[in-house]
């Protein structure tokens, strides 16, 4: 009886969504996010898009604005092929680390799914973007969209001026070096887009205004009077180079003897984008775990309050369990550890350890087991870790047992794999540390640095690949990449593989030999 007199507490009843329902659900979710989870997030901007637009966004590495390049077209075709053949579902959402934080919702989603997605992306990811130290340190959420706008129009203008072929040649080469285009330790000055743009604009305008065809007709002697840059200039530039430099794109942008100003600017754009995505590469597990944990907690809370119906909750749970599905290693569907699963499980596990610790947990995690404040513990973890350190610190024996993790060692010369550790007393430490290692970008990315360049002499650029654990490079791809570097450097480029422990030279390859 009472129910009838009061308006229904349900946020929505139909599976079709509309903007009123969305807005009501958003407000309810926001309340829980703030009151129960104490999340701190950028203002949200939620955009509804169609599947085709989602494919568009996918192929341009998830940015709403992107310059044009054939590789994005290739990914678009590839993904739309997969999608049309039903081999791939599209993500329900896409979220961009910007301020305001932009979340894309697919129009095909049901209302329950939209609510789930809002909780996941607009609050989970959003909180993570705003609070994780890596994002705070490396990305500038407020400036990225404006920067992309600038990048897009700058590259479009270059195409107009210098031809799409010339721009493509630079971009191809720059893309090949994207993984080697980040500063991992040094902090670069924060980019100010406005200043950047003004700088470029001024320079271009100056060029345009001062361009006069008459200069071409001046007698040669006029040019001869202007002395060639003296030797000191080269030696000055030479001594300004800092070795070793691991950010190869930065190195090329600064010191390449052949690049023109616009080409350097393009390298810079690619580098800035690579740097922007660097934190995301390091926090896949945490980021997805945080978002999944957030949506799981919020949706359950909504259900407990009677704000969503059982039917909707079932749908939510079904989608949730699809997301955190982890096939075993011997399953044909296995494609690596699912970051959603690992992250979500670890965070649930932290919650458990805080609230109901076992003796083992107290032993392993004395500083927070049973502290009763799971929320604070998680907020702290989200803020101050990346995948590698998060796993190293928080992966519990209980979870290792639960997921039945084991570590497997393979040696290229050995016809056998060796199981080095399983979920037992002797194995926990090793499994945990090996798993953490596998998320360390520093360990998985080949370590390649520029070590010498003789600007005054033969102008040969020397790169050094420090090989860890015998992990050499895929040859075809390596040689192609080396050719690209030569294109940017303009002269011979050599790559030497040196064993990290013995300093023995493993291989040496030069762009000259490759032709």
């Amino acid at each position: 009886m009472e129910k009838r007199s009061k308006p229904s507490p349900l946020l929505f009843t139909s599976s079709d969504w509309n903007f009123d329902d969305l807005s009501r659900a958003y407000d309810a979710i926001r309340e829980i996010a703030i009151d129960e989870l104490h999340l701190d997030f950028y203002p949200n901007q939620i955009e509804v898009i169609s599947s085709e637009q989602m494919l568009d966004a996918y192929s341009s590495i998830g940015m709403p604005l992107m310059y044009q390049h054939w590789s994005f077209g290739k990914h678009f075709l590839h993904e739309s092929n997969l999608y049309r053949r039903g081999r791939m579902g599209l993500a329900y959402e896409l979220v961009i680390n910007s301020n305001p934080c932009i979340t894309y919702l697919m129009e095909e989603n049901t209302m329950a799914l939209q609510a789930l997605v809002i909780a996941h992306a607009s609050f989970g990811h959003n909180h993570f973007f705003k609070n994780n130290y890596l994002f705070q340190q490396w990305t500038d959420a407020g400036a990225i969209l404006a920067y992309m706008e600038f990048a897009k129009s700058y590259i479009a203008r270059c195409e107009e001026r210098y031809g799409p072929g010339a721009v493509e040649a630079v971009l191809d080469a720059a893309h090949a070096l994207m993984p080697q285009a980040v500063f991992r330790y040094r902090r670069r000055p924060r980019l100010s887009v406005e200043r950047e743009q003004a700088r470029i604009r001024e320079r271009l305008e100056h060029e345009e205004q001062t361009f006069s065809d008459l200069w071409r007709t001046l007698p040669q002697s006029a040019e001869a009077k202007v002395p060639r840059p003296p030797e000191t200039d080269i030696s000055e530039r030479q001594s300004a180079i800092e070795y070793p430099e691991e950010n190869l794109l930065y190195f090329l942008e600064k010191y390449s003897p052949v690049l023109k100003a616009w080409q350097r600017e393009i390298l810079r754009i690619v580098r800035v984008i690579a740097q922007y995505f660097y934190p995301q590469r390091q926090t896949k597990v945490m980021n997805e775990g945080c978002a999944t944990f957030t949506h799981y907690t919020i949706m359950n809370s909504l259900y407990d309050k009677g704000m969503i119906s059982e039917g909707a909750m079932l749908e939510v749970l079904q989608n949730h369990s699809n997301v955190v599905f982890q096939p075993h290693f011997d399953d044909p569907r296995y494609g690596g550890l699912n970051p959603y699963t690992l992250g979500f499980n670890m965070m649930r596990d932290i919650q458990r350890i805080c609230m109901e610790p076992t003796a083992e947990d107290k032993d392993w995690f004395p500083d927070f087991a049973g502290n009763g404040d799971w929320c604070g513990t998680l907020l702290d973890a989200w803020a101050s870790h990346r995948d590698e350190s998060f796993i190293r610190q928080f992966l519990s024996p209980a979870l290792i047992r639960d997921m039945r993790l084991f570590s497997l060692r393979e040696e290229s010369s050995d016809p056998y794999y060796e199981v080095t550790a399983i979920h037992d007393e002797r194995g926990y430490e090793r499994v945990r540390s090996k798993l953490a290692d596998s998320y360390d970008v520093g360990m998985t990315q080949p370590d390649i640095q520029a070590v010498a360049a003789d600007l005054g002499g033969d102008r040969k650029l020397r790169l050094k690949h420090t090989v860890h654990h015998g992990g050499t490079l895929v040859e075809d791809s390596r040689n192609e990449t080396l050719r690209y570097i030569q294109r940017l450097w303009g002269h011979e480029v050599s790559l030497v593989g040196v064993d990290g422990t013995t300093d023995a030279t493993l291989y040496e390859v030069s762009s000259k030999e490759l032709g």
């Binding site: 807005s23 926001r30 949200n44 901007q45 955009e47 509804v48 898009i49 169609s50 637009q53 494919l55 568009d56 192929s59 341009s60 044009q68 054939w70 994005f72 077209g73 290739k74 075709l77 590839h78 894309y104 493509e168 090949a176 070096l177 994207m178 993984p179 290693f329 399953d331 550890l337 997921m403 039945r404 993790l405 084991f406 570590s407 497997l408 060692r409 393979e410 040696e411 290229s412 050995d414 016809p415 056998y416 794999y417 060796e418 199981v419 080095t420 399983i422 194995g427 090996k434 290692d437 080949p446 654990h469 992990g471 050499t472 490079l473 895929v474 791809s477 040689n479 192609e480 990449t481």
Partner: protein
């Protein structure tokens, strides 16, 4: 309060530029694939959308990647069931499991990468070798134009196409059915009322009658107001149906010498020649039939596959093909209903004396029936130097020159490479009426 934005109506095809850039990048590979299609596919399939698988060569995105097969590594996997630490498991044989397949240069293993090319893109690639002038390409790619044609009536439409007659007709019927008072009827009553009102001292009966008349007038007037003269439901619009611009039918005869001297290369060139003529006809005519006639020392009408792929041995008697063509025309394609186009490909061989017979066949009957007759002689690249001058050639060539002197719509040329084909059609395309005419 979040900021909701509905982006669904934003312009689509944001990635069109990327797609075009990619196509340009993969052009060589695509062209090779298209040429293979043309060799193996049907003539009329060229003019359609195609899905084309291409290898990833040239479209890879290399980076420095750690090789999976070198050195040692240790990884953590989920779902251990039977292993204890220290167990040694035999490495799975190549391609059996993880770690065995080297990633491709693109890093994603997209080996069965497929393109869905639109008709336009296919045609672009097809035209590339043929060196067609741009205008001709545009003409060929042009889509069918439609002309609106009257087709009955409809209840919705735009105001300019209201059919007044039909609307009034409906209105009239409705007015009768609903018994809408006519103006004359109202006038008559008003007149009676006026007449009675003149009577200054009416009898009660008269007054009664006057009141009745007034009441009646009022009813009728109300009824007139309620039943409109023209109601929206009466309105009919002329319906127009888009109708392809009426063209007559065309039939295209493909004649080819299939004797042993015609090899792979000759047949491929011949096929391109036929495809081009077919494209042209398909654009101009609503219905295009193709008849394939092959000949050695005897001719027969065959299907497309047999035409291009099966070989037959024998001599070469060209006139048999012409006779066969004549027979087919008489049997199925009367010249008054069909535009007849013929394309003949040959290497120029013919038995002696037969060429004269061909000339007389063409001059006396066939050329009168045909809209256009194109003859290509497929020659070796080496021979092309030798036969630079038109007045020097095989027996068939020399004989046909007599025909071409008499008939302006007889074209002949020698081709040694794809770009030689276009000149044969030059006249044909030049004579094209501008597309605008057919709007």
């Amino acid at each position: 309060m979040p900021n909701f934005i509905d982006r669904r109506l934003n312009p689509k095809d944001k990635s069109l530029g990327n797609r075009q850039r990619f196509l340009r990048r993969a052009r060589d590979e695509l062209k090779r694939a298209i040429n293979d299609r043309i060799k193996s596919g049907k003539i009329d399939a060229v003019d359609s959308n195609q899905v084309i698988p291409i290898p990833t060569k040239g479209i890879g995105e290399p980076t420095f990647q750690r090789s999976r097969n070198a050195g040692h590594r240790e990884q953590v996997l989920p779902g251990n069931k039977v292993f204890g630490s220290g167990d040694r498991i035999p490495r799975p044989v190549a391609n059996g499991g993880k770690g065995s397949s080297e990633p491709t240069a693109s890093g994603e293993g997209e080996d069965d990468f497929q393109f869905a090319l639109t008709r336009e893109e296919v045609l672009d690639l097809f035209f590339e070798d043929l060196e067609l002038p741009d205008l001709v390409k545009l003409n060929l790619k042009e889509v069918v134009t439609f002309r609106p044609r009257r087709a009955g009536y409809t209840v919705s439409g735009n105001p300019t196409s209201i059919s007044v007659a039909r609307t009034m007709f409906n209105s009239f019927g409705r007015r009768i059915a609903l018994r809408r008072p006519k103006q004359a009827e109202l006038d008559a009553i008003s007149e009676q009322i006026a007449k009675q009102e003149e009577d200054k001292r009416p009898t009660p009966a008269k007054a009664q009658q006057l009141a009745e008349l007034r009441a009646r007038l009022e009813t009728l007037q109300r009824r007139r107001r309620l039943i409109p003269y023209v109601d929206p439901i009466d309105i009919r619009y002329k319906r127009f149906e888009p109708q392809p611009v009426p063209n007559a039918n065309a039939v295209m005869f493909c004649l080819m010498d299939v004797s042993g001297s015609m090899g792979e290369r000759e047949k491929d060139l011949a096929k391109r020649f036929f495809v081009l003529l077919h494209l042209f006809l398909k654009r101009r005519y609503e219905r295009t039939d193709i008849v394939f006639i092959r000949h050695t020392h005897e001719a027969a009408e065959v299907d497309e596959d047999t035409f291009f792929y099966s070989t037959q041995s024998g001599g070469t008697v060209v006139s048999t093909a012409l006779e066969e063509m004549l027979r087919v025309i008489r049997a199925r394609y009367p010249a008054k209903d069909w535009n007849i186009y013929a394309a003949q490909a040959s290497d120029g061989d013919n038995i002696p004396n037969d060429s004269d017979k061909c000339v007389s066949l063409l001059n006396e009957t066939l050329m009168k029936l045909c809209q256009y007759y194109a003859y290509v002689e497929i020659i070796d690249e080496r021979e092309s130097e030798m036969f630079r001058h038109a007045d020097n050639g095989t027996s068939l060539w020399n004989a046909y020159r007599q025909v071409s002197e008499v008939w302006p719509h007889f074209e002949m040329t020698r081709i040694a490479k794809p770009s030689d084909i276009y000149p044969v059609f030059h006249e044909l395309f030049a004579k094209q009426p501008a597309p605008a005419k057919r709007s």
